[in-house]
């Protein structure tokens, strides 16, 4: 047969049969490739973002000088390098003023990733700096200006050297969020270190070598470097650099994957429905072609090629649409993006293409393949039985294909299982309920006596077809409900996590006698703050009478270390008790509660004894409980908590966190002057970063939701379309016999509304089940039933399906019956 597949497609396109099939395919590919490209790029962006927190791609950290040779080798291998040195030192100004600062010396190339900012005035507008201070100059933390009473251009001393103050140091990418900083920052040039004479062997210093480059080169260099690292060196990569957005983003990713998977299911159903209608409508064509001499093989070949051609075209269009979708998003949010995301590569589009081909093969091909079985005798006898009935195998193949696609796409079997459970519940419940209700009572004919009897008769007459339709509608509505529910709880969760007044500043070192005054000042300035937590600095000496190694060279594992202690009668808010028990109020026992990771590092559990030193006083405590902290809460968190009575004898300082708007920041100037010993840590930049990322991700989720709703609507449209022919035919006959417009439309409305009601009800039940599984198992939320979803689900079912149904059949009352009958 020489008729080319493309010509047949063009002819079929004109016949209007292919529209929904193509739309479903394009949408499936667009959704899968778009969402996948979007998550890949977002992940790339976040990874770059986390590199920012390191100021490099890899960092080696040590408390002693590291070989220059490493840097030389890195440069030979094409990497960029930089060095920093951080140490505490007094900064002097004039004759009297001095302050303990955290000095950071940096080379010219610092930072390799992320931005360094400075301002011309203390607390002024931060500007991007091309590089750090030139030799002979320093940048001071804004609050050092009032503390040292210096202005721009003045001189300050560090050790034996004098420096000119040229800028206020604002942010460094790797400034970190640790409270163990020594005080306000002073940035100087790396080459100025020797002339200060403050860095001596044994000084508390931290050297860092920074490396950056393309990932393969970095990996090659790390392979070379690793064998040479000793215990005192620590290699840092992104995983250690990120201060914790982790959970929120993981959930967002799960959501996007879930959405994508649901998209695949919806598109698969739409494709199956469209293909079925396509093949039903083509049965007569095939019979004619066979009567004219076409063989089964040539019919298969023709339709197979058409399908392949269609798939290729739809895949190309879908990839283009997917690419466009994620591009639009990144353009829309470009100014909020911390970094420009790298392109996603080809993988998302390959996934899209594979999805399209799988959908075609598993959903579209079976009914179309059976076209070749159509008997040529149909040209003589239109009443020949339709060979093209969907078989159980078809449904089986479809189900397996959908499960595999979802699993492949999400890489998460729990998520796949949750959705499948919902779908299975819909199908089973749907068929049972629909068949029982719709087939109840004796079968009646057309029953054109009244609107209600007409509708009821219609429902019963097409019982099986209607049951199937209810299931399909219910599936589409259920998937949409699941997505809406999960999205709502996700965004709610984020909003509670990052309310507008999230603390963005910390205050440390508040002396007991200052507590009241500080509290007073915060109140007068209308600044919301957390409670004031006592803080005692102590040292861990031994575990179960085993003295720990003293060395500070070794970063990991068990060693003596300085820790901040606090006390509390109650479990601090946002903490979760994992093991052991909280002590009774007023307890005087020597107990301690440890943070989980900290306990793991010390290798201790409930019941172990820990030897401590506060000042010069040794004391011993027993581990009473292990807690999990929410490190993303931006509230004061402590590794070690004691009963208040137990620590009350030791001198403590206090700390708190509070929220300060950008406009209120000038307040810090006067505050620091009034309370020179209090340390203020500014976290507003970090909080803003977290907030902007969460906003972007929320935006992405809304966009994806919109796309999935489009897919769901397509399924509803194809579901209605599938039954329109039969209904139109009957209605046209009734119309020919003189039925009023109101009777026909009313009957159709009631029939479709009833289907919508069943579908909505089923969808809601199944959605609750699915969301329960998803929230409890996959997203690890607390499940709570959502009463609001019941009216939403059922209402959406009735309104959408009756509107779509009546709209699709409207022609039957607007055109002469004969032309309707002739077209069918």
């Amino acid at each position: 047969m020489s008729m080319t597949a493309s010509r047949m497609l063009v002819r079929d396109w004109r016949g209007g049969e292919l529209g929904i099939l193509v739309a479903a395919l394009v949408l499936a590919v667009a959704m899968v490739s778009g969402i996948s490209a979007f998550t890949t790029r977002l992940q790339n962006a976040l990874e770059q973002e986390s590199h920012r927190f390191l100021a490099a791609d890899r960092v080696v950290r040590a408390s002693t000088v590291m070989p220059e040779q490493w840097l030389a080798e890195a440069r030979t291998q094409g990497l960029q390098t930089a060095q920093t040195l951080t140490f505490p030192s007094m900064v002097f100004a004039g004759d009297e003023a001095m302050y303990l600062a955290s000095i950071k010396a940096v080379t010219d190339d610092y930072p390799l990733r992320g931005d360094l900012t400075s301002s011309r005035e203390p607390f002024g507008a931060a500007e991007l700096a091309a590089q750090g201070p030139a030799p002979g100059t320093v940048w001071l933390d804004s609050r050092l200006f009032p503390l040292l009473d210096v202005s721009m251009g003045d001189s300050v001393g560090i050790g034996d050297a004098e420096f000119t103050v040229v800028a206020a140091a604002r942010t460094e990418p790797d400034q970190g969020t640790s409270f163990l900083g020594y005080g306000p920052r002073v940035l100087m040039h790396f080459s100025d270190i020797p002339k200060t004479n403050v860095v001596q062997p044994g000084s508390r210093v931290q050297y860092r070598q920074l490396y950056a480059g393309d990932e393969p080169s970095v990996a090659r260099f790390v392979t070379w470097l690793e064998p040479q690292l000793e215990d005192r060196h620590r290699l840092l990569d992104v995983n250690q650099g990120q201060p914790g957005l982790g959970n929120a983003l993981n959930r967002a990713e799960s959501f996007l994957l879930l959405a994508g998977s649901l998209g695949v299911v919806l598109a698969g159903v739409a494709i199956a429905l469209a293909a079925r209608r396509f093949s039903e409508r083509h049965t007569d064509y095939v019979a004619i072609m066979k009567s004219l001499g076409a063989t089964s093989g040539s019919i298969n070949w023709l339709y197979g090629r058409s399908l392949l051609l269609l798939g290729a075209t739809a895949t190309a269009l879908g990839c283009l649409a997917g690419w466009g979708m994620q591009s639009v998003f990144f353009v829309m949010f470009a100014d909020q993006m911390p970094v420009q995301p790298a392109p996603s590569g080809m993988r998302p589009y390959l996934i899209g293409a594979a999805t399209s081909m799988t959908c075609l093969l598993c959903f579209a091909w079976p009914p179309i393949r059976r076209l070749s079985l159509a008997s040529p005798l149909r040209v003589l006898r239109r009443d020949m039985p339709d060979e093209n009935r969907r078989t159980l195998t078809d449904y089986g193949v479809g189900l397996v294909a959908v499960s595999l696609l979802m699993w492949w796409y999400s890489g998460d079997w729990q998520l796949t299982a949750a959705v499948l459970a919902g779908l299975a519940a819909t199908v089973t419940l749907g068929l049972v309920l629909a068949l029982t209700l719709l087939r109840g009572g004796r079968l009646v004919g057309m029953s054109a006596g009244s609107i209600w009897r007409l509708a009821l008769a219609g429902l019963q007459r097409r019982g099986t077809a209607n049951a199937l339709q209810v299931v399909i509608f219910a599936m589409a509505i259920m998937l949409l409900l699941v997505l809406v529910l999960v999205r709502t709880s996700l965004i709610d969760e984020w909003q509670t996590q990052l309310p507008p007044d999230t603390p963005n500043h910390f205050m440390l070192n508040i002396a007991p006698e200052e507590v009241q005054a500080v509290d007073q000042v915060l109140r007068t300035e209308n600044i919301n703050s957390e409670a004031l937590y006592p803080m005692i600095r102590g040292r861990i000496m031994s575990v179960n009478a085993d003295e720990l190694p003293k060395t500070s060279d070794q970063e990991e594992g068990r060693r003596q270390r300085e820790v901040n202690f606090t006390w509390s009668d109650t479990l601090p808010s946002g903490n979760e008790l994992l093991d052991g028990q909280w002590w009774a109020p007023e307890s005087t026992e020597a107990l301690v509660s440890l943070e989980r990771e900290f306990a793991e590092r010390l290798q201790v559990g409930v019941g172990d004894e820990i030897g401590l030193m506060i000042g010069s006083a040794p004391l011993s405590v027993r581990v009473a409980s292990i807690r999990e902290l929410d490190w993303q809460s931006f509230q004061p968190n402590f590794f070690m908590v004691f009963p208040p009575q137990f620590l009350s004898a030791y001198p403590a300082t206090f700390m708190t966190s509070f929220h300060l708007d950008a406009s209120q920041k000038v307040f810090l100037n006067s505050f620091i002057r009034d309370f020179p010993t209090v340390t203020v840590i500014e976290m507003d930049v970090v909080v803003e970063q977290v907030r902007s990322i969460v906003e972007q991700v929320s935006g992405a989720i809304e966009l994806v939701l919109a796309v999935i709703i489009a897919a769901g609507s397509l399924v509803l449209v194809s579901g209605v379309q599938a039954s329109v022919d039969a209904r139109m035919h009957e209605s046209a006959i009734l119309r020919a016999l003189g039925a009023r417009r109101g009777l026909i439309l009313g009957g159709l409305f009631i029939e479709f509304a009833a289907l919508g009601l069943f579908a909505g009800f089923l969808a809601t039940v199944a959605a609750e089940l699915s969301v329960y599984i998803l929230q409890v198992w996959v997203m690890e939320f607390n499940y709570s039933p959502s009463p609001a979803v019941w009216p939403l689900g059922i209402g959406a079912g009735v309104v959408l399906i009756s509107a779509l149904g009546v709209y699709s059949c409207r022609k039957v009352v607007s055109s002469p019956p004969l032309s309707v009958l002739r077209e069918l």
Binding site: G15, P376, R381
Partner: protein, 208 residues
């Protein structure tokens, strides 16, 4: 022919010569269409044989019969059986394309011209009257140069005047092309234009 308990055709023994025009007449339900389906290789007989030329249709499977139909057989149906998504020209080209004919378009245009629809080649079936649609079907049947043309109530869906014109066209082309014609009808006037009439009654041949 026995189909389960229902025998539709029985004891039919019939020979049609090349170039002959034969009418099969009978009332509704007498088995005319079934016989036509068997003769044209659209259906399989449960017993007996249909031999056309040197080909025994009973020895062919459905695909084999399809190839045979493409090569040897043309159809004109009561309900026209045009593909609605194709234009008149494309409908006529279809069997030619299936034969792999390189000049499909020219031949199709020639036959459309011959049936008087040269000006309407780009029209779709729904834009044509019943008579016009049947003329397209006739053009399609003859364009493939079949050895045998089977016509199933070719004028059954048409008014008398249009039916007469279609009848005229059918016999005229049949003469010109030297095709063997097997025509099924209950219209005795139409049947009388054939050289031989076979009458079916309840599945049996009662007169020839």
């Amino acid at each position: 022919m026995a189909g389960g308990e229902l025998e539709i055709l029985k004891g039919i023994n019939l020979e049609i010569k090349s170039g002959e025009a034969v009418a099969i007449i009978g009332a509704s339900g007498s088995g005319k269409s079934t016989l036509l389906g068997l003769l044209a290789g659209l259906d399989e007989a449960s017993e007996g044989r249909v031999v056309i030329g040197d080909t025994d249709l009973a020895e062919l499977d459905e695909d084999g019969r399809a190839v045979f139909r493409a090569r040897e057989v043309g159809f004109v149906f009561q309900s026209f059986q045009l593909l609605p998504a194709l234009t008149a020209l494309e409908n006529v080209m279809l069997p030619l394309e299936m034969q792999g004919n390189k000049d499909a378009r020219q031949q199709a245009e020639h036959f459309l011209d011959r049936v008087g629809l040269g000006e309407r080649v780009d029209h779709y079936p729904r834009q044509m009257s019943g008579g016009e649609q049947q003329r397209v079907a006739i053009a399609r049947a003859f364009a493939a140069k079949p050895r045998i043309l089977f016509a199933d109530e070719p004028t059954g869906n048409l008014d008398t005047a249009t039916g007469d014109r279609i009848e005229e066209l059918l016999f005229e082309l049949n003469r010109e092309e030297g095709t063997t014609l097997v025509l099924v009808t209950h219209d005795l006037q139409l049947a009388s234009r054939c050289e031989r009439q076979l009458t079916l009654e309840a599945g049996e041949m009662v007169a020839s």
